[in-house]
């Protein structure tokens, strides 16, 4: 019998169409089994969703028919770089090309070339079972892509279900910069995006991810990053004004000498809920990770930062640093922060810390005592708080967008 207090995952999932991707059968059947076994959405008793209530998802009535994307508007072809645009989950354009870069629709990826082996939790399982397309980007050995590869996800309308699975493969010593831009304007909709990145030996991937969302929709976004020997990965995750956003970022430092950098800012207002879960797996020696997340919450917004670092037994000489700082600008705003370290190697350097506080009143007084209005001084302090991360964003597109968002 169904427990009324919980949300039925199975019923929810029945609203979705079976995937059109050719994932290996073993993965599909396991994912299906997982969903049947779970039956309900995880409750706040589960470790992964302690501070994020999923029961609200049950109210969504999603369109069973796959929606047609509205006609493409206002997308100027890029003069440089590669731009890939999705409208409500439909791949509507790919502009630009570069030697050594292969871009194809995820539907065209053969079974043998889906590289991830494990799909954990209901979000990933649902994506495996129900993803409708995505993009696959492959960068050949030693190719350094000089310009950005931009993936734009537009999401609008009502009762839309958007499930996509992207895969990015960098062969040995390749390097690239990806901009991943989410523009959400949908009402009562559901989004489940999964991005897998495979970094071969010595490859380098930098990613700037900007999420903006208007409207009362639910967005789940997962990145799984697999790093081989001496590869380097860096991501800036920038999340603004999201009604409901859950990000899961998991990095697997599978071989020696990997470098991983996870920076993030999240900013919420009104009744926004932004949940950032990150997991860093140090599985081999001599690897480094650096993580810094900053949250700014006003109104009744709530935020979550959960940062896990796993150092495996063989991962000696690991350096893992994690820091989370949050600024609460109202009495009703809240944040739940939980750093979690599991260390099984004995020769490692790991640190973590989390602080949550209000605006520095002495700094506010100082700025006002120089003639700056309270509201402008507050804005300056918020921007200053985020500057460390915003400054790390290489993408000029995203920098421009940030200037608008931050006023």
């Amino acid at each position: 019998m169904k427990n009324e207090g919980r949300g039925s995952l199975i019923e929810f999932q029945q609203q979705l169409v079976p995937t059109n991707l050719q994932l290996p059968d073993s993965i599909l059947s396991k994912a299906n089994q997982d969903i049947q076994r779970l039956a309900d959405f995880p409750t706040t008793k589960s470790e992964d969703f302690r501070y994020t209530r999923l029961i609200r998802l049950n109210k969504l009535q999603l369109q069973t028919e796959k929606s047609f994307a509205p006609p493409l508007v206002n997308i100027a072809p890029t003069t440089e770089g590669i731009q890939i645009v999705f409208e409500n989950g439909q791949l509507v354009s790919v502009v630009g090309q570069h030697e050594g870069v292969t871009v194809q629709s995820a539907q065209d990826v053969p079974q043998s070339q889906w590289l991830a082996c494990e799909y954990k939790g209901f979000v990933q399982a649902m994506n495996a079972v129900n993803a409708q397309g995505g993009v696959s980007i492959e960068i050949s050995k030693q190719v350094a892509v000089p310009t950005s590869i931009t993936i734009i996800q537009r999401w609008s309308g009502k009762s839309q279900a958007v499930l996509l699975h992207h895969q990015i493969v960098l062969h040995a010593f390749a390097s690239a910069h990806i901009e991943w831009i989410h523009e959400g304007r949908a009402e009562e909709s559901f989004q489940n995006l999964l991005l897998d990145c495979f970094l071969a030996e010595g490859s380098q991937l930098k990613m700037d991810k900007l999420q903006t969302q208007e409207g009362n929709s639910f967005s789940f976004c997962t990145e799984r990053i697999y790093q081989k020997k001496q590869s380097s990965f860096a991501i800036n995750t920038l999340t603004f004004n999201a009604f409901f956003t859950r990000n899961d970022l998991e990095i697997f430092g599978q071989e020696e000498g990997t470098e991983s950098k996870m920076y993030g800012v999240f900013m919420g207002e009104e009744n926004n809920h932004i949940d950032n879960h990150t997991t860093m797996n140090h599985m081999a020696p001599h690897s480094t990770s650096n993580e810094l997340y900053k949250g700014v919450l006003k109104g009744k917004a709530s935020g979550v930062f959960y940062g896990k670092i796993n150092v495996f037994k063989d991962a000696q000489k690991t350096n893992a640093f994690q820091s989370n700082r949050n600024l609460l600008l109202s009495d009703d705003a809240s944040v739940n922060a939980k750093p979690a370290l599991e260390i099984y190697a004995d020769d490692v350097k790991c640190s973590h810390g989390s602080t949550t506080g209000q605006l520095d009143q002495q700094a506010l007084f100082f700025l006002r005592a120089r003639g700056i209005s309270e509201s402008k001084a507050t804005d300056m302090l918020i921007k200053g708080f985020m500057a460390e991360i915003v400054g790390a964003v290489k993408s000029s597109h995203i920098q421009e967008a940030l200037q608008t968002l931050l006023g």
Binding site: Q362, F366, L367, R368, A369, G371, G384
Partner: protein
């Protein structure tokens, strides 16, 4: 310019200023000295409008206007400047952007157009030279990683940029070595005109060798108990505050 009459102020219910009177005219340099806990920094904070302090009695007139009715930023825009005893570090906010915002807000209040980028940079160049502030400090985050001396020079640099009518220097000499003290003092002296005034708050006579006051006031137990010329500072240096305390115990 500044008229303080029977000022009483308290913090968390504790009375600090207990009937302070002070009048400062354009062109004058005043010094306030006094033992620890006399209320010197409280006076500076109250004038700047710090919201932790409550004014329980008395009035403060700045150019005839009731200062207590103005929010912090309007006091600055009216021409009041407080050089902080402990300048605040503001990570992520560049010194130059901060000053540009401050200067333009003050200009807007006075009905003036914002300064052009070129004129602003020219002003930065000119005024930072005044306090021998390395131009690289102008582009760094406000006070972040500045030495004690650099922070104080940065305060005077801001004062030079904003060109106030009344500058209050709150223990600007604390933490300065003799060279930095000389630089800060010569900056302050260079900014002195017949139209503006300076209020120097200090523990020690040392600073007053460089910034020579017209009046020296002794603040004790929330009131000004003695006023004299610059010689009073020397007398205090020699005899300490005990004789003042004895007179007013």
């Amino acid at each position: 310019m500044l008229k303080i009459k029977n000022l009483h102020a308290s913090i968390d219910g504790k009375a600090i200023l207990k009937g302070l009177n002070l009048e400062i005219n354009p062109g004058e340099v005043h010094a306030i000295m006094g033992p620890n806990g006399a209320g010197k920094s409280t006076l500076a904070s109250v004038l700047a409008g710090h919201e932790s302090y409550e004014i329980t009695e008395g009035e403060i007139l700045f150019e005839g206007k009731d200062l207590t009715a103005l929010p912090i930023e309007d006091r600055a825009r009216e021409g009041l400047f407080l050089a902080f005893q402990y300048p605040v570090e503001i990570p992520g906010v560049s010194n130059v952007n901060f000053l540009k915002t401050a200067l333009n807000e003050i200009r807007e209040y006075a009905g003036l157009k914002p300064l052009s980028a070129k004129d602003f940079l020219q002003l930065v160049k000119e005024k930072s030279a005044l306090v021998e502030l390395d131009s690289s400090l102008a582009t760094r985050s406000v006070n972040e990683g500045f030495s004690g001396g650099e922070k104080k020079r940065n305060e005077i640099f801001q004062m030079a940029m904003l060109n106030p009518k009344l500058a209050i220097l709150d223990e600007t000499d604390s933490g300065l070595d003799i060279d930095a003290l000389r630089i800060v003092a010569s900056g302050v002296n260079a900014l002195k005109t017949k139209e503006n005034a300076t209020l120097v708050i200090t523990h020690y006579q040392r600073l007053l060798d460089y910034i020579v006051p017209d009046f020296v006031h002794v603040l004790f137990d929330g009131r000004i108990v003695k006023t004299g010329g610059k010689d009073l500072a020397l007398e205090l240096e020699e005899k300490g505050y005990d004789w003042i305390k004895a007179e007013h115990a």
